[in-house]
């Protein structure tokens, strides 16, 4: 029995995925919940390095890992629950919220694709970077739907979230925005779930608006982006 035989069994990929993630969570806790150490990033990097050093091919790892990956579908559907809960809490500002989410989501896609194109990125990268500001499961689905690369999309999404969470508070101080609702919207639109967890630390209003903005941004992007690609792509 060889290592590569064992490596292409279900429990191997499954244990490696969950194990590396749990290790990342413990490290993050030890570092005082720093937004810089994202367990997803830590686990992805360690597993990739492990596979690379041990010579185990990616498809072998995916035999077990796909079990985890396929749960993204029902998890995306489940996003309707927090979205519904937040909708009730911000009812009086619903129209302003919808319009600002739309403006922010279009800006996020437009600027990302525009800058990347200007700097000579390939069209596969452009299609993968376009959904960078939405929750990862939606970004994976959207990038697959428009012909991008889900792996690249995940990288862009996670980097976006960390950047938004780490620089958000400083950004708003710099531009002189102190309104809790506006800060929540800004974080939720630009930095999805990671930004929303930062917004929750800032306050309950910030958290509620950010959670709603994150859900709506995902919905708006998932509906408009494939249509835009079909029209202009």
């Amino acid at each position: 029995m060889t290592l590569s035989e064992l490596a292409s069994t279900v429990p191997f990929g499954l244990s490696l995925t969950v194990g590396a993630f749990v290790l990342g969570q413990r490290l993050q806790k030890r570092l005082g919940n720093s937004p810089l150490l994202q367990p997803v990033l830590f686990a992805s990097l360690t597993i990739a390095l492990f596979l690379w050093f041990s010579g185990i091919p990616g498809p072998a790892y995916r035999v077990g890992a796909d079990l985890v990956h396929h749960l993204l579908g029902p998890a995306t559907v489940a996003l309707a629950v927090p979205l519904y809960r937040q909708l009730g809490r911000v009812r009086s500002s619903l129209l302003p919220v919808l319009v600002s989410v739309l403006a922010g989501a279009v800006t996020a896609c437009g600027v990302a694709v525009g800058v990347a194109k200007l700097l000579g990125a390939s069209s596969l990268t452009l299609l993968s970077i376009a959904p960078k500001s939405v929750s990862t499961p939606i970004a994976i689905g959207v990038s697959e739907a428009i012909g991008g690369d889900p792996g690249r999309a995940v990288l862009c999404v996670v980097f976006t979230g960390i950047l938004g969470a780490v620089t958000g508070a400083g950004f708003f101080r710099l531009v002189g925005i102190r309104d809790a609702r506006a800060i929540g919207i800004g974080l939720g639109v630009s930095a999805h779930g990671i930004g929303t967890s930062r917004a929750l630390q800032l306050g309950e209003t910030e958290g509620a608006f950010s959670g709603l903005a994150m859900g709506l941004t995902g919905l708006v992007t998932a509906v408009l982006l494939p249509v835009a690609v079909r029209l202009f792509g």
């Binding site: 995306t76 889900p150 996670v158 800004g186 639109v189």
Partner: protein, 124 residues
């Protein structure tokens, strides 16, 4: 027999996979480019708005899955890392695009909300 108890986790899971399946059906019937889980999310949101509450089993399944959401991205993250050689030449372009777009959308959405709140809900 307690297996059929209302509001069980499994019933909640069945609602989630059922709505994903409906999303899949809708996507294929109407040839939509939108991912089927997103269509499922939208349909479920409509149902919740109509119901006016979140059924207990659905809340349990949704909170359980979403509580571990980050774990579910790991396989895609690993693929991205294994593939990083392919984007080596584009790394700077990607980084700059992400930074510019994150700050731009942060500012645009926050300022739009501030402006519209002043118009819609003016304080005396």
């Amino acid at each position: 027999m307690s297996t059929g108890k209302a509001g069980s986790f499994l019933e909640g899971m069945l609602v989630l996979t059922g709505f994903q399946l409906m999303g899949e059906l809708l996507r294929r019937l109407l040839h939509l480019p939108i991912p089927s889980p997103v269509l499922g999310m939208f349909l479920l949101l409509l149902l919740l708005l109509w119901l006016g509450r979140v059924p207990a089993g659905l809340a349990r399944a949704a909170d359980g899955l979403l509580g571990h959401l980050a774990l579910l991205f790991v396989p895609a993250g690993v693929s991205a890392m294994l593939d990083i050689g392919a984007i080596r030449t584009e790394l700077v372009a990607i980084l700059l695009a992400v930074v510019a777009s994150t700050w731009a959308s942060m500012g645009v959405s926050a300022w739009t909300l501030l402006g519209l709140e002043r118009l819609w809900n003016p304080k005396p």
